[in-house]
């Protein structure tokens, strides 16, 4: 291969088997050495497919019909072959769980350099450098199965960095990271790109943290590029039309007994996690929960749902309260063979009502499809539809906005607003503080044994005072690509 690590994509078309429309219809792009390019766009627009083609997985491992040309360092990637390409082009996948193939953090990061047959001393140096780069020194002796989502993401990134790739492809790398983690990750990537001239191709929905990379922005829709911006042009995210257009509804002042009352809730997994959590959630309100990875947010939802028992403290709610819980990973909550039977699993529904629900969730036409064959975004919408079928008084949502484009986010917000308007309550765990600041009536910041509870402005003010601005929304809002 030549030393010029330019990627040239020319008239690329990719069609997956048994799909009517191509994932990529026509794409031509050039990525120069050291350049950073961000690909944004709605779900299903072909962003991840670009990463899979550039890394050689399509068509080597993932079957698809490809045409056009993709060249790296002057050679066709399809002639080069995926295994050879992997030494120069690294892909960090969206789901870190799917990337970890050993049981120990050190071994995981050393896995790639070991496959390259490098001398032991060089492997040791590469692993140490990668561990330091992602700030994972404290994880080095950990079993990979015990890591939190954010920790796994760091390890997954370190394992690719240890390969010293010339091109780094990142497919929604911050999906599982808290705001501090996302900021640190992009700062790390910025340094790496500057120091080593690594080219970066990043697929992201959250665009703001990426601005420090001064990337070139490519917006895709339905397999085609619909917008190109240089880093100077796209600083105004609103001009791109990528910002959500959700308008919060007026909120009636609620009186009467709270729907949920937590008093001095304490919980531990071996070591203390939550201590003396006391909150009230009145009917018709939304409680947002924010905080770092592994800080106890999901555990609190599990306690409220009755899936965990507190060590001490009380959870007060009416016995008749119907609770719905939408997990972070939708496939855990899907049981039936078709979308239709999945929705009907929770009880009979008239045909008109069923079609209405399918239409609202943008699942119309998919009622006979196998639920697990749907895209992740579609599966998430399906699990929300099934949770709503039970008419919950209290709906718990764990990271519902991950991987959702603007349209889907607005659909989720609309459903939440319906529950609130009907006098129900919602508790939403999310890293998206921008959205939570718009919709939540109350906010709870959870970081292990520390909690801050109150109305959003009070919580954000206290977070700013304690130097945790990264968990606070910024004035100009966030973009959802």
């Amino acid at each position: 291969m030549s030393s010029d690590h330019t990627i040239e994509i020319s008239r690329l078309r990719v069609q997956y088997p048994e799909r009517d429309l191509p994932a990529i219809a026509d794409l031509s792009e050039q990525i120069r050495p050291g350049e950073t390019i961000v690909i944004a766009g709605p779900s299903g627009s072909g962003k991840s497919t670009v990463c899979r083609v550039l890394s050689g997985f399509i068509p080597d491992l993932i079957p698809a019909t490809v045409s056009g040309e993709v060249r790296f360092a002057g050679r066709s990637v399809w002639e080069t072959g995926q295994e050879v390409l992997a030494a120069s082009i690294g892909l960090v996948q969206q789901d870190p769980d799917s990337q970890i193939c050993t049981l120990n953090v050190w071994q995981e990061i050393a896995f790639g350099p070991e496959n390259l047959g490098l001398p032991r001393e060089e492997i040791r140096q590469r692993v140490e450098t990668a561990i330091r780069a992602v700030g994972a020194e404290n994880l080095v002796d950990r079993n990979t199965t015990t890591l939190s989502g954010g920790e796994k993401q760091r390890v997954a990134l370190a394992s690719i960095l240890a390969m010293r790739p010339r091109v780094l492809l990142l497919d929604e790398p911050t999906a599982n990271l808290d705001p501090a983690g996302a900021r640190d990750l992009f700062e790390l990537i910025r340094r790496m790109a500057a120091d080593e001239g690594t080219s970066l191709v990043i697929v992201e929905h959250r665009l703001r943290p990426l601005l420090i990379l001064q990337p070139r922005l490519v917006v895709m829709d339905r397999g085609q590029v619909v917008e190109r911006r240089t880093h100077r042009e796209h600083l105004d995210l609103g001009a791109l039309g990528l910002r959500g257009t959700w308008q919060a509804q007026p909120r009636p002042v609620q009186t009467g007994a709270p729907l949920l009352r937590l008093r001095n809730l304490t919980f531990e997994y071996g070591s203390p996690l939550l201590r003396d959590v006391s909150i009230d959630l009145p009917a018709g309100q939304i409680l947002g929960i924010i905080g770092p990875n592994g800080g106890g947010k999901t555990t609190l939802l599990r306690l409220i749902a009755g899936l965990e028992e507190p060590r001490s403290g009380t959870i007060g709610r009416s016995q008749e309260t119907r609770i719905g819980f939408v997990f972070q990973h939708p496939h855990h909550q899907i049981f039936e063979r078709t979308v239709r039977s999945e929705i009907l699993l929770d009880g009979p529904l008239s045909e008109d009502r069923l079609i209405e629900r399918l239409r609202e969730a943008r699942l119309l036409g998919l009622d006979q499809a196998a639920p697990l064959s749907l895209s992740l975004g579609e599966q998430r919408r399906l699990t929300l539809v099934t949770a709503l079928s039970r008419d919950p008084d209290l709906l718990l949502l764990d990271e519902p906005f991950i991987g959702q484009d603007r349209r889907n986010v607005i659909w989720i917000l609309s459903r939440m607003e319906e529950i609130r308007a009907a006098g129900g309550g919602l508790i939403v765990v999310s890293h998206d503080t921008e959205l939570l600041s718009t919709i939540a009536d109350r906010l709870l910041f959870v970081d292990h044994e520390e909690t801050i509870f109150g109305d959003p402005s009070t919580v954000f003010e206290r977070l700013r005072q304690s130097g945790r601005d990264v968990y606070c929304p910024e004035a100009d809002g966030e973009a959802h690509g």
């Binding site: 690294g90 996948q93 120990n104 390259l116 040791r124 561990i131 199965t145 690719i160 049981f335």
Partner: protein, 256 residues
């Protein structure tokens, strides 16, 4: 320099090399499959329990981990004891139980119990990465050696997936009792199928991850963690020799 991990735990057989642990496992399995009589098989089970205690896993904890195996062992014993009707009768009413039936049942029960308990202990005390490396050193192609690591990587994954899916069923009010064939079919559909789909999807992701880091690019690969024969391994080796000799003795002179 960042401190590299050595072993997850540092007691008993955790300190033995993966190769030595594999040798004692093979020796114990050889004894229970190759020896005559019940006493040696029972002694092997006691030995495995003692080795577990030596490795920091107390008898109560070890047996608790095996509670389902113990129940199944009891079922095996009863079934075998009742099916062998030759020998002197120990009980005539309401069922016939003979001395040979009891011995056959005990032999089968201890054979099963010892193999399972030894395998469990082996998994608990052996670093899978070191084991794969050992097997590769012994001549197994590294692509196959890594299958073992991946298999072990999936054990906690399956446990976690089943737990999460059960919780999801609970939240949706899905009952998965297993009283009738229809219940079983429903439980399989609502638990096994989601776990299987999840596992297959995970396998795809891991395959991409491994290939994305040049797995299989070269015929040989480096192992960054060196293997070595340790002091404890000599004692394990002596134990293996004694086990083999006891098996030979039991067959030659019909001891135990």
């Amino acid at each position: 320099m960042i401190e590299r991990p050595t072993r997850v735990a540092e007691s008993g057989l955790h300190r033995a090399s993966a190769g030595a642990n594999l040798l004692w496992l093979l020796a114990v399995v050889g004894v229970v499959l190759g020896s005559n009589g019940v006493a040696l098989k029972a002694a092997c089970f006691v030995l495995v329990t003692m080795l577990a205690a030596f490795s920091g896993i107390g008898p109560a904890q070890f047996l608790r981990r095996m509670r389902f195996v113990l129940v199944f062992t009891l079922v095996l014993f009863i079934a075998q004891a009742l099916s062998v009707q030759t020998g002197a009768a120990l009980l005539r009413n309401p069922i016939r139980l003979t001395d040979q039936g009891v011995l056959a049942g005990a032999a089968m029960a201890f054979r099963f119990l010892t193999v399972i308990s030894a395998s469990l202990l082996f998994v608990l005390v052996t670093d899978p990465d070191q084991l794969a490396q050992t097997l590769i050193r012994w001549g197994i192609p590294y692509r196959f050696g890594y299958v073992l690591i991946l298999a072990l990587r999936f054990v906690p994954f399956f446990e976690a997936e089943v737990r999460t899916i059960r919780e999801a069923q609970r939240m949706r009010g899905i009952q998965t009792r297993v009283r009738t064939p229809r219940d079983i079919a429903r439980a399989v559909r609502y638990t096994f199928v989601p776990v299987l789909v999840s596992a297959l999807s995970r396998v795809d992701g891991i395959a991409i991850s491994m290939k994305g880091r040049c797995f299989g690019l070269h015929s040989r690969r480096t192992f960054s963690r060196p293997l070595g024969w340790r002091t404890l391994d000599w004692f394990v080796l002596i134990l293996c020799v004694l086990l083999v000799l006891s098996t030979v003795a039991s067959r030659l002179w019909e001891w135990f």
